[in-house]
């Protein structure tokens, strides 16, 4: 199989896949991994440093926060929400943005102008503000958070897909399909979409990162889902950065590594999906 072969050839892709698998497993099997209940408050153990520093305790791998909660356990549990929000909100954004971009670029004219004015007007509103407004009349559950982040980031997809389609639709193979009488929906899904895929993957991978960060900003503002996420741990830890630096640092590292893994995976995926790539 080309996929497996390419995974072994591309070390970068392999690293990405390993990171993603690792984090997915920790998210799924979180209850089996964690040494402590992530919400358990133990004031006697508050502000413990990580295990390798003076005063660190053996069961608190990455130390504890000001309430004595185990940072390691919280990060493991936090990966559930962060990964879910990151990936699902990207799916929501893509599901809205990609069709809009395809239709807008392919049909052009009035349809294009209308859709692009909607996009423009959304660009004018900061996405965090939009999210705040929507969350103002919706309960911040996990689903609404995913929806809100998705809705506030779909414009990037619409814009990029549209601009790619504008040039792709002038290719002769699109013209050939038209002269054969192929239906517009087929031209869009079979000829245009596969050829904009590499751009979509690049935006999506970056978007996963920004979604995790947006979720953390919302958590910071108290509008996040009422559960542990990397973002909420990070924002809580910020207040204690001078004394308990580990509380904010480790979820930060977790976000960075996950995002890196997803970006590496995206690069690899783009190569795999391109038939011109030789193994």
């Amino acid at each position: 199989m080309k996929w497996v072969k390419m995974l072994l050839v591309s070390k970068v892709g392999l690293i990405g896949v390993i990171i993603i698998i690792l984090f997915t497993f920790t998210a799924i099997f979180a209850p089996l991994i964690v040494p402590h209940d992530p919400t358990e408050v133990n004031l006697g153990k508050s502000s413990l440093p990580p295990i390798w520093l003076d005063g660190g305790e053996s069961t608190y791998l990455l130390g504890t926060d000001n309430l004595g909660r185990d940072v390691f356990s919280r990060i493991i549990y936090g990966s559930q929400i962060s990964m879910l929000v990151g990936v699902c909100s990207v799916l929501v954004a893509g599901l809205i943005g990609i069709p809009v971009g395809l239709i807008s670029g392919y049909y052009g004219g009035l349809v294009d102008s209308l859709l692009m004015r909607i996009v423009d007007s959304q660009i004018a509103i900061p996405s965090i503000l939009l999210a705040l407004v929507i969350l103002g009349f919706m309960n911040p559950t996990l689903l609404t958070i995913i929806f809100v982040i998705g809705v506030s980031s779909w414009i990037a997809y619409a814009r990029v897909v549209r601009s790619e389609v504008l040039s792709l639709k002038e290719r002769e193979y699109v013209k050939a399909a038209k002269t054969m009488g192929v239906r517009h929906s087929f031209i869009m899904t079979r000829h245009l979409l596969p050829n904009v895929f590499s751009s979509i993957i690049v935006i999506s991978t970056i978007n996963v990162a920004t979604s995790i960060i947006t979720e953390s900003s919302l958590s910071f503002l108290g509008l996040g889902p009422q559960s542990i996420s990397w973002g909420s741990i990070l924002s809580e830890g910020r207040d204690y950065l001078a004394t308990n630096w580990w509380v904010a640092t480790f979820p930060g590292i977790a976000i960075t590594v996950t995002v890196l893994g997803i970006i590496l995976f995206g690069d690899w995926l783009r190569d795999v999906l391109d038939p011109r790539t030789e193994v």
């Binding site: 013209k175 038209k178 002269t179 054969m180 009488g181 079979r190 000829h191 038939p275 011109r276």
Partner: protein
Amino acid sequence: MNDLIRKNDEILLELKNVKKYYDISNSFLKNKSYLKAVDDISLRVRKGETIGIVGESGCGKSTLGNLIMQMLPLTEGQILFEGEDMSNLSANQLRKKRLDFQMIFQDPFSSLNPRMKVLDIIAEPLRTYRIAKGEELENKVYSLMDLVGLNKSQAYRYPHEFSGGQRQRIGIARALALNPKLIVCDEPISALDVSIQAQILNLLSNLQKKLGLTYIFIGHGIPAVKYISDRIAVMYMGKIVEIADKNEIVKNPKHPYTEALLSAIPVPDPKLRGNKKQTVIEGDVPNPVNPPSGCRFHTRCLYAEEKCKREEPQMKRLHSYHQFACHYPINHQGGKEFENGTA
């Protein structure tokens, strides 16, 4: 002469005063101006023949091809396919009609979707019209590949794994998939190496014999077009300036522009070069937005006189198989009388 249009000749395609103007008016100043890409072309294409269309870049020959393919709306005129006016058809009727006319494209590198396998590319028209599926579809694709000289073991490869000539064969197979009656070939060999050009031309003419196809062959060099065509139409700035049987037009060109195109053909034998009469036209094609008055060629014509600047020449008929639009046609044998008529 088998190229005479006889009464019982079956006309497959007829263009009646076809015009395609692009509105390039400056909306702010309300200046109406048009780019006349195709200006009043009438042409009858008989079943089974090949009409070659030659002309410089920008003379409107590709636009004409696109108009015939119903890819662009007409500004004026009619295109009749088997006697049926195509502009009267509804979108659905037109879609069904498209089975009968297909196109072969210029650039085999952009005419095939890089992300589709050869099998899917050739099968696309068959799938679109639900003509075949499953194993039947596969077999049909294999026989099409065989027809154009491709090996069926190549069906699961991607276009980038093929050379230009092979890619053009894939494009031809795709055009043949629906058993069309007419194929518009839009400069199908100009992007290929010279050695491959002959192969593709031979393939096209063999297919024509085998399948009884009618071709409209658009090209910019007379030799290749002459090789495959029965009749040749020379276009200049959106108009047909001369149309004749291919041997007639080469031996006895009447329009100075045709003569110039012919004299641009390189002579392979250096010893014969001295004998050839050189007609070199100078300058570029004038701006088609403001075409010259009278005869559009007069700015570059070696024989232009006062009359050419004032009066636009009408199509004149030398024989029924040779027509041209020129006030002062080149005289090869002596005086001739001409009658007016359309191609």
